[in-house]
């Protein structure tokens, strides 16, 4: 094989491996968002941190070997980024978990091994069992622009009442998702 052929072959390999890496990265976005949300109390900082993790993962893609555990590698990078933010947040006196809590939560998150697709499917099924107004309330209050105060004003109820309804609904959904996922794991 001459030099040009080797070069073209190398470029094609690089392109296909980049496409495979991109697919992996896309497939883990929900997990990364969940991971960051579990460790960062500041809601407004989460999107930037997820973006930073994505950039770092892309920059370090050469060090990742396809066919190895992407999730473990991505979480390791995410932890590194979050720890860096922890120091910055402390300097700015923003709310942050202690290192001990962060480590415990990150370890347990990885242990839980949540499957985003299965979870989302179970969530949709469990949501369909709720009344329409409750489904709407849950979606509105957990959206980026939604707030409990707005939903409470719309419903003509005090915010405390809406909060307690939401708490009850979340607990119901959590239980339902848990049951569905356990059942599907048993059938597999």
């Amino acid at each position: 094989m001459n030099t040009t052929c080797i070069e073209i072959d190398g470029r094609l390999n690089r392109k296909s491996s980049e496409a495979a890496f991109m697919a992996l990265l896309n497939g883990h976005q929900i997990l990364l968002r969940n991971f960051v949300a579990s460790l960062i109390p500041a809601i407004d900082a989460r999107a930037d941190i997820v973006q930073e993790i994505n950039i770092l993962l892309w920059e370090k893609r050469a060090s990742f070997e396809l066919d190895t555990n992407f999730k473990a590698w991505a979480f390791a990078v995410a932890r590194y980024v979050i720890m860096n933010h922890q120091k910055r947040f402390r300097r700015r006196e923003r709310l942050m978990f202690s290192s001990e809590v962060m480590e415990a939560l990150a370890d347990q998150f990885v242990e839980l091994n949540p499957e985003p697709d299965e979870r989302m499917e179970a969530l949709c099924q469990c949501m369909s069992r709720l009344r329409d107004e409750h489904q709407r309330l849950l979606l509105v209050c957990h959206s980026e622009r939604g707030s409990i105060e707005l939903a409470a004003a719309e419903r003509g109820q005090p915010a405390v009442t809406v909060r307690s309804i939401l708490l009850r609904l979340r607990n119901r959904l959590r239980k339902c998702i848990h049951e569905r996922m356990t059942r599907s794991q048993l059938t597999l």
Binding site: L95, V101, A104, L105, L123, S143, R163, L167, I177
Partner: protein, 145 residues
């Protein structure tokens, strides 16, 4: 308030982003207590995030359903047709205004015509003189002068 209810309240505040430093410390203490609390915390946070994502995806779908591409294209086509029609109307109007002086029929200004009834004879000044009306008029003209 029992321990579980307090944990639920703290987790709800964490999700809302309304935890104060004191409450975050209380949450930390409960999360370090045992892995059941941590599992509850992680599951509820994931659920809240998933609900947010579900809402985003539904809103995108609703938005797409309300204004489908066909309607947008139809509107665009109508807008173009409207512009073309207006331009055509303007050209026709301008041409009509420009051509009008050349196309309009040339009418000589017609003099007042007299039509005499059959069998009658048209007589003007001489009869006036005879009737004396002319003298009356002359007298009034003279008076004005």
């Amino acid at each position: 308030m029992n321990s579980q209810a307090y944990l639920e309240e703290l987790v709800a505040k964490y999700i809302e982003g309304t935890c104060c430093p004191k409450e975050l410390k209380a949450l930390e203490a409960r999360l370090l207590e045992d892995d059941v609390n941590r599992a509850y915390f992680l599951e509820i946070v994931m659920l809240a995030e998933d609900l947010g994502m579900l809402n985003d995806s539904r809103q995108r779908r609703i938005g797409f359903d309300l204004v489908p591409a066909e309607i947008l294209l139809q509107r665009q086509r109508w807008r173009e047709a409207k512009t073309a029609l207006l331009a055509a109307a303007a050209v026709i109007l301008f041409s009509a205004v420009a051509i009008w002086p050349q196309m309009a029929p040339k009418h000589e200004s017609a003099l007042a015509g007299f039509r005499v009834a059959p069998g009658e004879k048209l007589a003007m000044a001489p009869d006036h003189h005879k009737s004396g009306m002319w003298d009356e008029h002359r007298g009034s003209v003279a008076a004005i002068r």
